[in-house]
């Protein structure tokens, strides 16, 4: 199944984000070997050069490392992964706040609605469990 991409931004950036969230979710464990460029390309149905570029970005961020001749691995430095998690989390919240403000909510209201929904979500989860 091909991965979904949007039309407004370069595919290699979306590809890099996709792999990053895979690392954050633990789909790719610390120190684990990543699929090859061609494997990624086939998984996502994208051009191998795009994958190459995405992996290059991730390497610059320090999330993955190249080991000579054997391929690319997820970093063993937890701090790097935490940094990425923070960045992604911040970006998501910033997006969220921006959207809420656009709908006319004030900062206080956003906080309230957030708290309510969080509690409701938790009770739902415990019911289901």
């Amino acid at each position: 199944m091909a991965w979904q991409f949007t039309g407004d931004r370069p595919i290699y950036i979306q590809m890099a984000e996709h792999i990053t969230s895979g690392i954050l979710k633990g789909e790719y464990q610390m120190g684990e070997k990543l699929p090859s460029v061609r494997e990624f390309a086939l998984m996502a149905s994208v051009n191998p050069n795009t994958v190459q570029r995405a992996l290059f970005e991730l390497e610059n961020m320090g999330l993955i490392e190249t080991q000579r001749n054997t391929g690319k691995f997820v970093t063993l430095e937890e701090s790097r992964i935490e940094m990425s998690r923070n960045e992604m989390g911040k970006a998501l919240v910033a997006d969220f706040i921006k959207s809420m403000k656009a709908l006319g909510y004030s900062g206080e209201q956003i906080k309230d609605i957030f708290e309510n929904e969080r509690k409701a979500g938790e009770s739902n989860e415990s019911e289901n469990a």
Binding site: A2, P10, R38, N47, N49, R53
Partner: protein, 233 residues
């Protein structure tokens, strides 16, 4: 010097009084998947036929890895026409033998493996196969060559989404990393994810030639959206 895979210099082609291509200049590097995009009748097929030597340009010159269209260029160009071109009395295996005899870069074992995966009966005659199966056989033959330049004319025209995914994956899986793939289509949304670069043709002229990423970075648009804007009726 970094030799280009394909070089077209001021290429023009007329059919009688109709200009099919006018003053086309292109210089394509190696190792890229490039879309040849444009509406019907924009000259896509004519350009591909000129490159593979089925037509001779009226003006200008074409060079494939330094060779003019001829026996040397045909040996390194793998061409998928938009029609069935295999003799219908041949069996699938006959076709494989034919390709092995004429193309030194043909990987026989690879073709056999791909056909087995597709469950194409190797001993069946071409005329007994359905249109879709014939197209698959042709794609297998063309992608089993280790060519320098692949010319794929409308490989995904008129196939269902599952077949389309299969075709794109076959191309991705099998093209050589130093080779360049030129794919012509008017179905841009379907293939834009696999393209490094794209060429827009309109009325026989190159409207733009750019990289997919740079288009998105500069304009924040997909090729498909851009295409619809450029060719809005």
């Amino acid at each position: 010097m970094n030799q280009k895979t394909l070089e077209c210099t001021e290429v023009s082609k007329n059919f009688g009084s109709i200009a099919a291509l006018h003053n086309v200049n292109l210089s394509l590097p190696e190792g890229k998947i490039i879309g040849l995009l444009g509406p019907n009748g924009s000259g896509k097929t004519t350009l591909i036929k000129l490159i593979c030597g089925l037509l001779t340009p009226c003006e200008g010159s074409i060079s494939i890895c330094g060779h003019e269209p001829g026996p040397e260029s045909k040996a390194i160009v793998s061409y998928l026409p938009e029609r069935s071109y295999l003799p219908d009395w041949m069996t699938v295996l006959d076709c494989l033998d034919f390709f092995r005899d004429f193309y030194e870069d043909f990987d026989y074992e690879k073709a056999v493996g791909m056909l087995e995966n597709l469950k194409v009966p190797a001993k069946a005659r071409m005329k007994t196969l359905s249109k879709g199966t014939k197209e698959k056989v042709q794609l297998v033959l063309v992608m089993s060559r280790r060519a320098r330049l692949y010319l794929l004319d409308e490989p995904i025209g008129g196939v269902d989404p599952a077949a389309r995914d299969y075709i794109l994956n076959t191309i991705l899986r099998n093209y050589d990393e130093n080779a360049t793939v030129l794919i012509s289509t008017h179905l841009i949304a379907d293939i834009e994810m696999v393209l490094d670069e794209f060429i827009f043709l309109q009325n026989g002229q190159v409207v733009s030639y750019a990289s997919t990423d740079s288009l998105r970075e500069d304009l924040g648009k997909s090729i498909d959206t851009y295409f619809r804007e450029v060719f809005r009726c």
